[in-house]
């Protein structure tokens, strides 16, 4: 009986810990101050479009406020959750754009061959990154700039944890080839 009585508050505490909890305004302000700049840089570099980065950044925070992370998550996990939301939103935008663009590109491909690399740009990390596929850019950024491990990258990008190591290795090799 006593065990049951003691179990109730514990069960409630466990439930409260895993349930989403609304952030207070002050908590959100601090979180925003620490994450908005890195998130914008990530979105800017994986999309190559500052205006798109602005839009997705704003939408990501609005979605985070509407669907807050579980209360037991620490700052690092909350940030990963925000990056996951942003990545999903960016993926939706890419798909929409791809649909619009593919027809036009087929028409224009005859007149617009792939841009040639020149010596001046070969050392430019930004330009080299822009030449990689979007998923590789996101992988490299999350691994090397945000310092996420394979488990976190898999969660943010919706990949299998086992395949992250291989894809990351290949992405790094591609970037090396672009830089050399």
């Amino acid at each position: 009986m006593t065990g049951q009585v003691n179990a109730l508050p514990k069960a409630r505490a466990r439930q409260e810990a895993t349930e989403p909890r609304l952030l207070t305004e002050a908590e959100f302000e601090g979180f925003h101050a620490r994450t908005s700049q890195p998130l914008w840089a990530y979105l800017r570099r994986i999309s190559g479009d500052p205006a798109l980065a602005d839009d997705v950044l704003q939408e990501s925070y609005l979605r985070l406020l509407r669907h807050p992370p579980a209360a037991d998550r620490d700052e690092r996990e909350r940030k990963a959750y925000l990056f996951q939301i942003a990545t999903n939103l960016m993926r939706d935008r890419w798909r929409a754009r791809e649909r619009e663009r593919s027809a036009l590109e087929r028409l224009l491909s005859f007149w617009s061959p792939r841009p040639e690399r020149n010596a001046g740009l070969s050392l430019d990390m930004g330009a080299a990154l822009d030449r990689l596929p979007q998923r590789d850019r996101a992988l490299l950024w999350l691994a090397h700039v945000e310092g996420y491990d394979h488990r976190e990258i898999a969660k943010v990008l919706g990949l299998q944890e086992r395949s992250v190591r291989v894809i990351l290795f290949r992405a790094r090799k591609k970037l090396e080839r672009e830089l050399v």
Partner: protein, 105 residues
């Protein structure tokens, strides 16, 4: 290994140099936009919930009408419809309207 370090350093340098061209929306702006969306969504949800009893009572009313008509056709007796309406359908409809229809506040 050296190349990997160079890539890491290059990407971090790029991250430091990647700055927004215009000011990002402040936390306060985002907070209030989210608040407005939250209120709109909860208002829509409340409106949907208010409509639910009305839909149920409409469905129940329709079911009773169909039941009455079926009874008429099966019995083949015109006076039966009048009796059925007076005894069963009218009080039931009144009860449904009384208990389930949303009231003006």
């Amino acid at each position: 290994m050296k190349m990997e370090q160079e890539i890491q350093e290059g990407l971090r340098q790029l991250a430091r140099e990647t700055r927004p061209t215009k000011p990002l929306p402040s936390a306060e702006q985002l907070w209030w936009r989210a608040e407005v969306i939250r209120r709109l969504v909860s208002r829509e949800e409340a409106a949907r919930q208010a409509e639910r009893p009305l839909l149920w009572s409409q469905a129940a009313g329709l079911f009773l009408v169909v039941l009455g008509l079926l009874s008429l056709f099966i019995s083949g007796e015109p006076r039966f419809l009048a009796l059925l309406f007076a005894v069963v359908l009218a009080p039931l409809t009144a009860l449904i309207a009384f208990f389930f229809l949303p009231r003006e506040t």
